[in-house]
Structures are given as structure tokens and as C-alpha cells.
């Protein structure tokens, strides 16, 4: 079953068109990745899906319901949650306060205690640092917190924009491994990544975005071996 279907979406900022008709769907319970070079429209596709940007054309269906025109907070209530690029933490607030902010929708509020236990189990480092100001933690810890805050919103679909950007390899590996735990909790994941190798290694299905269009798609284990992925990336 496809929990999220993005169809022929066209969008951009002001007069700058970024997406030229992008289509992708997420199978429930799976990890799907969206990869592509700088500036091809990955973040724009996530922001449009979330409703931070209105699609100019095309449609977005979540659990069979047309959500194309719904604002982001309504989508979050329904269970579609975005971990934004660059973390966007409340840097002057503590770790636990940031986590509580994640649980602001009604459904999540009633499950706050349970979800808090979940994220502490997944990221013990955060439990050690509940009272610390978010802005004073390392880049990797802040990224953990950003993902954890997303989980606090009790998502059915969690979209993560750039999990690994700017992080040391050992942290990258640990964060990717934590995605498996999320999947095992039944959360469907859409991962946007510049690190194609890692994204394809962790995911079940992958899409390659180039110049605002989906250029390739397929099971990740096939894409990771496909020379065309590399050439799409390097522009040959």
C-alpha cells in the first residue's frame, strides 16, 4: 500500500520554477530515499509535500486523502512530519523542551510520555543531556535531536532532509543505523540525502532527482550498482 503519493508536482519560489513535474510514492513501512546533486530540487520537493510551499500543479495524497492544499500543521496532525534541513532546533531551549515542542499536535500530546521513552531508548545520548541547551551540543547530537523531535510528533511518515550533512563518518553510520529502528517501529521514512551510497544502502527503494525531474527509480539494491546513477550525478 502506498501511504504517500506525490503526483506530477510542479513548484518553486516566487518566479523561479524548481520542480518540473515530479512523481514519487512511498510504500508503507519502508524506507524510501530521494537522492540527487546540489540544487536539483530535493528540499523543494519535501517542502512542497509538507505544504510549506503550495504546489503550482500536481497532487499529494496521504493515506488516500487529497492533502495537496492542506497547511503543514494539518498535515502534521495527520501524521506527515518533516525533519528540516539544518535541524532548525530551538537552540536556547533544553533538549527535553525541544522534544516536547515536537509533540505539539493533539495525537502526539496524548502519547508524549511513550514517545519520549522511545526516543531516549533510541538515542541514549539525549537522555544524558535532557537539561542541556540544544545549541551547545555537537552537530551529530543536534541532528539526533532533530530526528528525535520529529519522532515526538508521532509520525506515520517521517521525511528527513539531509541526515548526514556535515557530520563525521562514525556519526553518519550511527544515525543511519537508527533509521532501521524507526522503520521497525512501523514508521515510513522518506530520506533526502546527498550521500547517495549511504542512502541507497539503508533504503528499500530509491528515486534520483535531476534538474527538477525524477530521472531514475528502482529498488535501492539495484540502483547502488547502477553506473547510470553515478553518471546522472556527475552530469555525463
Amino acid at each position: 500500500m502506498n501511504i504517500l503519493e506525490v503526483k506530477d508536482v510542479v513548484s518553486g519560489y516566487g518566479e523561479v520554477q524548481i520542480l518540473w513535474g515530479s512523481t514519487l510514492s512511498l510504500q508503507a513501512g519502508k524506507v524510501t530515499c530521494l537522492v540527487g546533486g546540489n540544487g536539483v530540487g530535493k528540499t523543494t520537493l519535501l517542502r512542497t509535500t509538507m505544504g510549506l510551499i503550495r504546489p503550482w500543479q500536481g497532487s499529494i495524497h496521504f493515506e488516500g486523502q487529497d492533502v495537496s492544499r492542506l497547511p503543514p500543521y494539518t498535515k502534521a496532525d495527520l501524521g506527515l512530519v518533516l525533519v528540516p534541513e539544518g535541524r532548525q532546533l530551538f537552540t536556547d531551549m533544553s533538549v527535553v523542551e525541544n522534544l516536547e515542542m515536537g509533540a505539539s499536535n493533539k495525537r502526539a500530546r496524548s502519547k508524549m510520555k511513550q514517545n519520549l521513552e522511545r526516543v531516549y531508548e533510541m538515542f541514549p545520548r539525549l537522555k544524558e543531556r535532557t537539561g542541556q541547551k540544544a545549541g551547545t551540543m555537537s552537530g551529530g547530537e543536534q541532528q539526533m535531536l532533530a530526528v528525535a523531535r520529529g519522532i515526538m510528533a508521532d509520525p506515520k511518515v517521517l521525511m528527513i532532509d539531509e541526515l548526514s550533512l556535515g557530520l563525521a563518518p562514525v556519526l553518519v553510520l550511527a544515525l543511519f543505523e537508527s533509521l532501521r529502528k524507526l522503520r521497525d517501529l512501523g514508521i515510513t521514512i522518506l530520506l533526502v540525502e546527498q550521500n547517495v551510497q549511504m542512502a541507497l544502502a539503508i533504503s528499500d527503494y530509491g528515486y534520483v532527482l535531476s534538474e527538477g525531474r525524477i530521472k531514475m527509480e528502482g529498488p535501492s539494491r539495484q540502483l547502488i550498482k547502477d553506473e547510470h546513477v553515478r553518471s546522472t550525478y556527475l552530469g555525463l
Binding site: 550533512l165 563518518p169 546527498q194 553515478r230 556527475l234
Partner: protein, 250 residues
């Protein structure tokens, strides 16, 4: 082969962040140098170091035989260096022609308004923007990108730094812009271009430098670059780490 620009071991820090580490290259006159690398690699910072926005802490920059390491941006403009910005910066309340005249007035030669007007007309014709009397703020994005280039060209530079002039353009506009870049080179202007559109940068650069985390990980012809293991790793990620991740699953 005359070396127009020589960048010798420049290093730039922002607080604790090492934004550029010992970047070194020589740029011969008349060439197009492509500058590529993942987000945050330091490409625009390198432009800012070369044209005097943020002088480097270490190393030297030699332009046309002169040490310009500490030169100010306006001095660099007089010496024959012009640039465009990734986010276009037109003077919205001036006309297109007036915007381009600004380049001529504060460029390599400090032209008076009459001469600047003539240069602006020439440049606008060359760049294919026949909207001189329109307010710059009323242009669409592709036209603004052309205006940004026209203003830089009106400064009559020896070296032109282009920061993502293709971003946000549709495919036919991209083709037009690539042709313009090639025409600029034909006029004898040396170019460094930061570009994410790989097909374009690979197609028109004589040489390419790849930055990653502020270091220069590769330099060479487009063919050498696309087959360079470090470049592939910088763009696609480390295959060994991915292997580890897959093994964890099994």
C-alpha cells in the same frame, strides 16, 4: 601561457570553522575554470577571498603580477576583476541600463556617465537584454541573471567570477546562458565559474577544481575529474561506509 591569477595556499577561518584550507592553483589567461563541490564546500568563500570580501588569513593571491591578498573589493574591480552573485542583486529602483552603467562607472576604468552609457548599450546588446529602460525590479529571474552578468561585464574585467549563473533557469535558458559564457570567453575574458549543473560545467570548463569541506580534493580536465575516486566519494559518499551499513542489516 600567461598566468592571470595565482592562488597560493590560502586559508580562511570563520571562528572555529576552517572554511578554506591551503587552496592553490594557477589560472592561465583565456581559460574557463570550473569550481565544483558539495554544499558548504567553500566555493563562494573562495570567490569572496579572491575578490576581497573576506581576505584570507594565510597564503597569497597574485592577480596580473600584483599581490592583491589584502586588496579591497573596489580595488579589485579597478584592477579588472568582476563577479556575479548567486542571489542576484540588481538595484531594483534603477533601470536596466542604469544598473549596467554602474558597472562601467566603478569598474576597471572609472568612466563618466556618457561613456558608461555607451558601454552599457554595447554590453546589453552583447548579452541579449533589450530592456534598457525597464526598471530592474520588473525583470524575471532569467533576465535578472543576465543583468547581473551585464553589470559585471560593463566593468570591463580581465577576470570574471560567475557564481551559479545557471541556477533557477529552465533548460532552454540554460543553453542560452552557456552560449553567452562561451561568447564572453571569446572576447578574451578569463572565467571562473561555480556551477552545480554538472552537465554544463563539464561541457565548457578547460579545467575543474573540486572542493570538499574547504579542501581542494581534485584538479584536472573534466574527464579526469569525473573518474577521480575522491570526487566520486565526495559526491556519492563513501562506498566502504555504505558496505558496513548493509552488512549491519544481514
Amino acid at each position: 601561457m600567461t598566468i592571470l591569477l595565482s592562488v597560493q595556499g590560502i586559508t580562511k577561518r570563520f571562528g572555529g570553522l576552517q572554511a578554506l584550507t591551503r587552496i592553490t592553483f594557477d589560472l592561465p589567461e583565456g581559460q574557463i575554470l570550473g569550481l565544483i563541490g558539495p554544499n558548504g564546500a567553500g566555493k563562494t568563500t573562495l570567490f569572496n577571498a579572491i575578490n576581497g570580501v573576506f581576505p584570507p588569513e594565510e597564503g597569497r593571491i597574485i592577480f596580473r603580477g600584483k599581490d592583491v591578498t589584502r586588496a579591497k573589493t573596489y580595488d579589485m574591480a579597478h584592477m579588472g576583476l568582476a563577479r556575479t552573485h548567486q542571489i542576484v542583486r540588481p538595484l531594483n529602483e534603477l533601470t536596466v541600463r542604469e544598473n549596467v552603467m554602474v558597472g562601467a562607472c566603478f569598474g576597471r576604468e572609472k568612466h563618466g556617465l556618457d561613456k558608461a552609457g555607451k558601454i552599457a548599450d554595447d554590453v546589453l546588446e552583447f548579452i541579449g537584454l533589450n530592456r534598457g529602460d525597464q526598471l530592474a525590479g520588473s525583470l524575471n529571474i532569467a533576465q535578472k541573471k543576465r543583468l547581473e552578468m551585464a553589470r559585471a561585464l560593463a566593468a570591463q574585467p580581465y577576470l570574471l567570477l560567475l557564481d551559479e549563473v545557471l541556477a533557477g533557469l529552465n533548460p532552454s535558458e540554460v543553453d542560452g546562458m552557456i552560449q553567452t559564457v562561451l561568447n564572453i570567453r571569446k572576447r578574451g575574458i578569463t572565467i571562473i565559474m561555480i556551477e552545480h549543473l554538472m552537465k554544463a560545467v563539464m561541457g565548457i570548463s578547460d579545467r575543474i577544481i573540486v572542493l570538499d569541506y574547504g579542501t581542494q580534493i581534485a584538479e584536472g580536465t573534466p574527464e579526469e575529474i569525473v573518474n577521480h575516486p575522491k570526487v566520486i566519494e565526495a559526491y556519492l559518499g563513501d562506498p566502504r561506509l555504505a558496505q558496513k551499513l548493509m552488512e549491519g542489516e544481514e
